[in-house]
Amino acid sequence: MDSRDLTQALRDATEDLTPRDGFAGDVVAGGRRRRRRNRVAMASAVVGTAAVAAIAMTGPTPLSAPPAPGASQQTEPSRDWRMSYQGGEHVDDPLRVTEIIEAWTTGLRTGRPANQNGTFDDRPGDPHVYWAGDTINGYGEAAIVMEVVRLSPDDERILTGVVATPPNTTAPRLLGLQLDGPGEQGQFVLPDNRTVVAVARPGTELWLSREITYTDEGSQRHWMPYEATDGVIVQDLYDNSNKLNVRLVAGAEPTPENMDPDRIRPLVMTGRDAVPTARGLPWDRTVDLGANDAASSVGDRFDASAEFTKALRDSGQLDPWSYQERRSPWLVMARVQDGVLMIGEHQELDEAAYVYVAMPRGDGGYDVRRAGTTDHSLPVAVRLPDNGGYVVAAFGEELTYRTGWDGAWSAPFRDAGLLPPEATHVQAGDHFLDLANAK
């Protein structure tokens, strides 16, 4: 089939398709509903900004004084749009607002959850309840509070916190804090480990991805846009989501090509267990199957650990929004025709740890592929190109191989080895592997 055949086949296959009756009317009605929601949100934001301007004109404060000649024209924190915006169904309830402010003030005074060293004690203004409303999935009420903090005489920023009632308690408490920079911040996961409350300018979108999906072609993220209609987005991560693998991004729809670390809005975890579990293999050595020959000096030795990390980073196999440079704690390296083959592991966030094989290409780069997770991939076995045999590894184990069902087992060797192409089976401790299954 050539491209002309394909074009014709696709056109023939779709020529009878038409939208259902009333489709255009449904679309226009749905579009109008969306536009109405956006307008309400934008009107609220504009009113808030106008109020700030009025205050600045009638009651100058040290923060609202005109900037000195040559001074930065950057918006002062106290005039930031967020400091005058208010959203949420409870923000007009004076009793609730008083409780929220009290929780904020108490939290900062007692250093819970942060400020034990008094870093945020210099606060020239007043706390501002930016949003107070109900969350979804039954967590209950929550609030976002902001206040300008002076970190040094010329460094004032907005400090944003989330106030909510923790499980098994009755009073609201300050549960998490986030300081501006870079960019506007204020994203929290509540103690139920599934409710996300994130500040966003009304009418704008934040993109949320709940997890990394690993496929044969590399890692992927499914991004969902959420529009802030009330100054925040409130989203549920679902029961089976792992909060540590969530990513929130501001701006245009995230793609690997437009990945910009400054657009990632880090989430503050207010619950417990906020540390990823290390799922790698308990190995900590490098096995060199002839990658560095005896004649090479130490200075010329192949730095496999750095090279492996670089190969993974450049491969597109890893998630660009989660990538952190870390070295594999173990490596197997072997000399092959086009360079040095490397096998190691990498774990992203709180995902599984995967074994990766970096196969050198002739151009100095590597073809990288996943060879399974570390929890059920032992022993590691990689088929070399051009009938070059196999690399097998099972650290801490005694390995042996044979060249047929009737063949004798080889002399045992430890950790890893380079097997001839005629090898058919490997025994590694309690594991038995048919090399026909080697990738």
């Binding site: 089939m1 779709t14 679309v27 226009v28 579009g31």
Partner: protein, 173 residues
């Protein structure tokens, strides 16, 4: 005036856009209609800004939405057919023609989402490699390599003896 323009656009361009959506959704008519409706509704509040070239904007939004939709679905279920080598009827006739079209759509559905999007944009929507790259926000080189690999994989699927692989389970080295 703006609403009337938008309504006119939806009325007249929806059939064409639906066909693209149908291919992007791997031949799922209902899903394609839902996808198109969602994309058009999202476009409506932005109509004033995009009305100079709305179709290109909608097409790009459609591709992105379809890619996301399929990523989401692929997490939960594998919907690629296990075998697509439906035996041909003994005598070629009109039904053979329809069968071929069906096979092409089903073969297209087995491709990764972005590869499928590249083929749909290039060979159904007649976009150049550069325009396709702009829609997908990737390099022209990526479009070319995806096109070449996509066509090769389609050919593989459409050869009489071809069967789609079920894929090896992860974790087996």
């Amino acid at each position: 005036m703006r609403d009337a323009e938008f309504t006119d656009f939806v009325t007249h361009r929806s059939p064409t856009l639906l066909r693209s959506a149908y291919l992007l959704c791997g031949g799922d008519h209902a899903a394609a209609e839902d996808l198109l409706q969602e994309v058009l509704e999202r476009v409506f509040p932005r109509w004033r800004r995009i009305r100079d070239n709305p179709e290109a904007y909608v097409r790009a939004a459609l591709v992105n939405a379809a890619t996301n939709r399929w990523r989401h679905r692929s997490r939960r279920v594998t919907e690629a057919p296990l075998a697509i080598d439906v035996p041909a009827p003994p005598v070629a006739g009109p039904e053979q023609h329809i069968l071929t079209h069906d096979l092409v759509v089903r073969a297209l559905a087995t491709l990764p989402t972005r590869m499928r999007a590249v083929l749909v944009l290039r060979f159904f929507d007649d976009l150049s490699a550069a325009d396709t790259a702009a829609v997908l926000r990737c390099g022209v080189g990526t479009v070319k390599s995806q096109t070449s690999r996509g066509l090769a994989r389609l050919r593989e699927h459409l050869t009489p003896s071809a069967t789609a692989t079920t894929g090896a389970a992860d974790g087996q080295p």
